[in-house]
Symmetry: C2
Amino acid sequence: VKVSELSASSGVPLSTIKYYLREGLLPPGERSSPNQASYDQGHLDRLDLIRALREVAGLPVDVVRKVVEAVDHPESGVDPIETALMRLPGAGPAARSPEEEAEYERTYQEVLAFARGLEWSTGEYGHGYLAGLAEALVRIRRHLFPDYPIENLEPFARAVWALSEAEFANVPIEGSPVPLAGDDLAEPTRRAIIGTILFEPVLLALRRYANTMRSIRVESGLPVPPASG
Amino acid sequence: VKVSELSASSGVPLSTIKYYLREGLLPPGERSSPNQASYDQGHLDRLDLIRALREVAGLPVDVVRKVVEAVDHPESGVDPIETALMRLPGAGPAARSPEEEAEYERTYQEVLAFARGLEWSTGEYGHGYLAGLAEALVRIRRHLFPDYPIENLEPFARAVWALSEAEFANVPIEGSPVPLAGDDLAEPTRRAIIGTILFEPVLLALRRYANTMRSIRVESGLPVPPASG
């Protein structure tokens, strides 16, 4: 299709599409004449991904470029999902003093060993997330439990693995009764990034709710249903 | 003790303590002479709470005031923990158009019914968290799964309840080998607020890690351990 039709069917303004083309976020169309190029479903999918990264994830254009480069070059070994998630607004490690750096480095090694001990870990990929986990553990030990043992994270690891099983089973697949917005079947990267961003608040809200309910039940002597129920 | 000793043992500068006294965040000490007042363990605990709210949670002074008022007036029915968590920097609902408002309101009623159906819900308290859950569900349906059924949240509910059981069991109690920073045994509010804030990044990092590991295992045909393992 022509660029004007690409704009109409994607809902992205023509000027924005031209900007994405100039910036290399969107690959050029196939030249059909010196003044005209032709665009296909791949361009539409890419526009959906860019929009989601810009509008839902709130990522700046230069991060979007890194994400689409990772999508286009799987041989680089760069995970596009991790690339996007590690650069969400408000993410990113705090500045550290040299002593803090040493403490963080020690904790990161500890977290690595913990992660490798998990039955479901592959030992590869996802190290950015483990770095975030090390940051969090440093803060826990600094502000709350100085001797917090890393083994106490095992219930968290069990909970996320169970959740991951349920989430993957819930992902609508072809023929499923739950249709997807846009062509998510063709765009697992968009689904993974946007799904992570959209479901994280669900998990946090429910955790806060569960802890509130448990503490009310404990304090007022109400029955506390066991976790399997 | 005198105010100078309070400053020394809490590590909070004298000028800051005086500011907290003026602002009513810290209750006045007991007058021992026209120019001197005496402070006790309660003041120290309160300073620890204020510091945690300011430095770890990043809350502005007016929110800290609301939190300590809720702590001091349990009969008001205001939950100090919810008060703090719902006002974290970056939290808070987005502006909504009238149609969005109607959609949100419908979704909130749906979430309320879902929450009341959970075996462990008390039907009271925590409604701010449920409002956040409704916001998240509206976004999920808008950006990813238009017909996302609320029952798909059941695995999340099961996961957070299991996690809550483990977390409450892990909280160090008197005689436990894990000592606490500060007098957390006397300050369950501080522990709950700061614990929530500090452990949320743990949960999110591990969820991202688990989903990455699962998707690598699925894609490369590696064995996928069952959730109970």
